[in-house]
Symmetry: C2
Subunit: 332 residues, 2 copies
């Protein structure tokens, strides 16, 4: 395996959800990670979301030598120059805006830059990828997309149904994202996306972040780095080299109560096992070549060995996200 320092370009990760602490931030620094788009909440209310932001404000205060909040692409560049990791905020569900359109701008002001319209289930905005029926983006969803477009918050359809995602691509006046998912044609999974969908996503200027969460990978935790790079090459054939990045979906430090919260929130009294099963209910084992924030250089090396040009490796590892942040995070 290559040394973590063997890749010194921009590394931007479109999705992580950890039990954040100083050890993880040190690992980010050791891994040369420029920016992580962190999941703040899954099912939390507006008020609960404020508390999650409050926790992050304490983390910024206490670990200002390692991390900083990023609200713009320039903040990400500044973090790189200061040898810090930039943190952007993301919601994996629309519960924090509570059917209140005004909360979009308020959450934006607090630093939130990505919001999923839904997490697996039908939401007030759109259908999730676990619903049998997908009736597309709702009346409220249209208003939310318009408001997100206005303020500069990015629509993320990672956990949405296919029709809803096509709808969002069409309705949104600014490019949208699937921050963390892979190709259904490479590994069939409710969370992975069809070739038609990622083609439409790319044509509209949107971005796909490749996930290393084992449920999204061919052969699960046994997926090889070469297989992963093969999938990226296939996506690049469909989407072009400028519309793809990393969205690792890395989870660190959380106990099984957190995967239960992620899957069940408060919406079910019966246990829903999500991508797992009753016999495989907990967090999946990670792949050997990506266990944490020190391992991004492995991917850069894998891409290079697979045959990607150095400049294309840089785009996939971070420059595409940086360019996307540049055009997406400003108010219209």
């Amino acid at each position: 395996m290559p040394d973590a320092k063997s890749y010194d370009g921009f590394i931007i990760d479109g999705a992580q959800y950890a039990k954040w602490d100083r050890a993880i931030f040190e690992e980010m620094r050791n891994g040369g990670v420029t920016c992580v788009n962190v999941t703040l909440v899954y099912w939390e209310s507006a008020r609960e979301t404020l508390s999650e932001i409050g926790k992050w404000n304490r983390l910024f205060e206490q670990n200002g030598d390692l991390i900083m909040q990023a609200r713009t692409a320039d903040d990400v560049r500044l973090a790189k120059s200061l040898n810090k990791t930039a943190i952007t905020f993301a919601f994996q569900h629309c519960s924090p805006i509570e059917e209140d359109i005004d909360l979009v701008e308020i959450m934006y002001t607090l630093g939130v830059r990505f919001m999923q319209l839904t997490y697996n289930n039908q939401s007030v905005c759109a259908a999730g990828c676990y619903e049998n029926e997908d009736s597309g983006v709702t009346r409220f969803g249209r208003q939310v997309i318009k408001e997100m477009n206005r303020v500069g918050m990015v629509v993320d359809m990672s956990h949405s149904g296919e029709k809803s995602t096509f709808d969002a691509i069409e309705i949104s006046e600014r490019p949208i994202t699937v921050t963390h998912a892979n190709l259904e044609s490479w590994h069939p999974a409710l969370r992975n996306k069809s070739d038609e969908l990622i083609k439409a996503l790319a044509e509209s200027g949107g971005m796909l972040g490749f996930s290393m969460y084992p449920f999204h990978l061919k052969n699960g935790p046994q997926c090889s780095l070469n297989e992963f790079c093969e999938m990226i090459a296939k996506a690049v054939d469909i989407m072009g080299i400028d519309r793809v990045g990393i969205g690792s979906d890395l989870v660190q430090g959380h106990g099984n109560e957190v995967v239960e919260w992620m899957r069940n929130g408060r919406w079910s009294k019966e246990m829903d096992f999500g991508e797992g099963s009753s016999s495989n209910a907990g967090w999946p084992e990670p792949v050997s070549w990506f266990r944490g924030n020190s391992d991004f250089a492995n991917i850069a090396t894998g891409l290079k060995n697979f045959g990607f040009k150095a400049e294309d490796v840089e785009k996939i590892m971070g420059l595409n996200w940086l360019q996307f942040f540049e055009s997406s995070f400003t108010a219209k």
Copy 2:
């Protein structure tokens, strides 16, 4: 009465609470008002406060030709140069932070620049001026002051008890304010402040904003402009010319249900009449020389006629607040 345009210096008002609409913003422009520190909430929760901020965000969007949000003294200067009125946010009570220290920074990020530790009653931070006993700033209150000092939110003790206010002056490492009150020695009222208190306030670098709310005035709605200027001259004798400004406490457009909310929130099932009485329960009649945002020039003229030098009139009308904003609104 002089023309509203007869004074073209900075006009900064430390306290207003209106049923805000475009007509009021036009009046602010006609009156040459540079900045108004608006009351967002009295007794509202964190979540309710987000909705009040949401309403303001809509007002900024819809009336961007007349008003703009100010987060810094430079924003206030920018507003003046753009011929707009700058709006800063204030809380008249600590209910929006809900005993959660993290909410101080979150509300600051959303633009809140002043918070009263209490409104008339005992709060979790300090005692209000209507309590019989004032045991001073509480354990939580000390933490709140420290956090407000850190982020750049100003402590306002307008509705606090005397001991609590002396405590806050001593505990706070940055100057504090009484944004809207007058001199008790000029007009005895629970809401007005003792000469000793305003002296200590000024010595610590704090500011007093003079109120034109009739309950705080000698002779109530019949108070003359000359009597008001006499009181200002007395305050300047005690505090010096650099520590005083305007905090009109102007209320416009609200029905009596709002004065009831202001006085009773949800804390009482019996009607509390606050500064009024059962026979005088509604909003007081305004003084003839200050009925709204067009009338600030009257005060400037009154001060000039009373004998204040032109440069001192400018300080009282706005430059002292501007200087105070400059040194207060930045993080430590």
